[in-house]
Amino acid sequence: MSETVISADKLTKKFGDFIATNEISFEVKKGEIFGFLGANGAGKTTAIRMFCGLLLPSSGAATVAGFDVYRQTEKIKQNIGYMSQKFSLYEDLTVKENIRFYAGIYGMNRQSIKEKTVGLLKQLNLASEPNTLVKSLPLGWKQKLAFSVAIFHEPKVVFLDEPTGGVDPITRREFWNLIYQAAERGITIFVTTHYMDEAEYCNRVSIMVDGKIEALDTPRNLKKIFTAASMDEVFLQFARGAKRGE
């Protein structure tokens, strides 16, 4: 079996009396597409923040890209990418400036930024638009660009927080094509989504309810176990039982 990129062991985060994530344990392997599902307020965001080194856990253990989430958060940040629907790129910078900025943050040198930028723009059909302001790009292009920027420095893991919200169905699929390509290159994908058909595209899926991981398996097995026709039905079976909101 290939190397473990994310591992969590009874990872817990409490805010006062409130247990946001409750002893979650799982492992994600290199190159895997891991779907992280759960209703609003189930504790997904808290978990992702702990993995990204933004939040210290209350108890339990976790490593990301081989680094400890308690002591090596700076190392973790060097080795992950992050993209969310809400925050991705600077609207008032051009395509090229955004790429250069993010690549610069991760300490890439000028020459390799230049070379990679050309290839990236070609791949995204943006070769003629390096100097276009990001805000004048259509949403779908923005999201694809944001993803490409998030993995520009070849991180070991990329965290995607609802990356495809509001995107048209064709672009959504083009986006997933990019995800597949990144996974083939060995980048581990950790993704949350509200589209249940996208859950089917993941290698494995976990479903979080009220801070706990209640199910974790391949989509195929989950459907078999819960005798459901689609992931949508599986998800609803769990989420309907959820007690708490955000």
């Binding site: 759960g38 779908g140 509001g166 058909d197 595209y201 989509p219 609803l236 708490r244 909101g245």
Partner: protein, 311 residues
Amino acid sequence: MNSVTIEHIVKKYGAKKEQVTALNDISFEVAKGELFGVIGPDGAGKTSLFRILTTLLLADSGTAMVDGFDVVKQYKNIRNRVGYMPGKFSLYQDLSVEENLRFFATIFNSSIKENYELIRDIYVQIEPFKDRRAGKLSGGMKQKLALCCALIHRPSVLFLDEPTTGVDAVSRKEFWEMLKALKLQGISILVSTPYMDEAGLCDRVALIQSGKIMSIDSPKNITQKFTKTMWAVSSAEMYRLLNDLQQYNNTEKCYAFGEFHHLVLKNDNEGKDEIMIYLLYLSHHEIELKTVQPNIEDCFIELMSKSNHQQ
């Protein structure tokens, strides 16, 4: 009389050189008591359309009537009788659930008491939290409160702009059940959404992309217009399967769709056997191959690629 009548609405933004057409010659009608869906991705023009209908925005050309009143000349009449829930739920985060509801009721010259019947089924779900500040509610509860606020003056037409965006699958389901119940009360509802799977819950839908309506009909009729055979294919290696099917010489279109890939062939005379041979030749295993009923998302993709070709 129609609840909403729109004729040749055009809306453009920006200075002359870099003008963006948000709405390009939109016309349709919504009958009284109808649950009408405007379905399309972000940036398709949904919000502009809703703002024009709620008298918040002036169209560049074309006319629109809501509940028998002109959206430009008789905007005051319209403001007295419509309910509107904008994109991001417009609530006062620092006011409690009850304070929000009372405020909006009073602003619309009504009171909670007067129309409690109408919102009761929805409000009872959030009533236990009526003293909680709106900012501390979950996404699903905010959505319910915003709906209550939009309904509290018993509007004749209800405009809901992306009410289910950013809300989880469970809350989405519940929300649509609420809309069905409201429809029975005789309120016309226009709802916009980027989620294609919600189309099936509407009486009629308009599929909108880049400011143009690509199709407008009942969900059933739209899917029936799809005349070609839709194949659903899966195998043990889904990503390789997708690439291989896209290379297949009889493939018109192939894309991922949940646990299957959807496949449309150029020549419908060929079928199961030919695809099977091709896939076995490429040593795929655990192949599953069947025909399926195309859904709204399939139709949307079909219409989108057609209009892209025309451009």
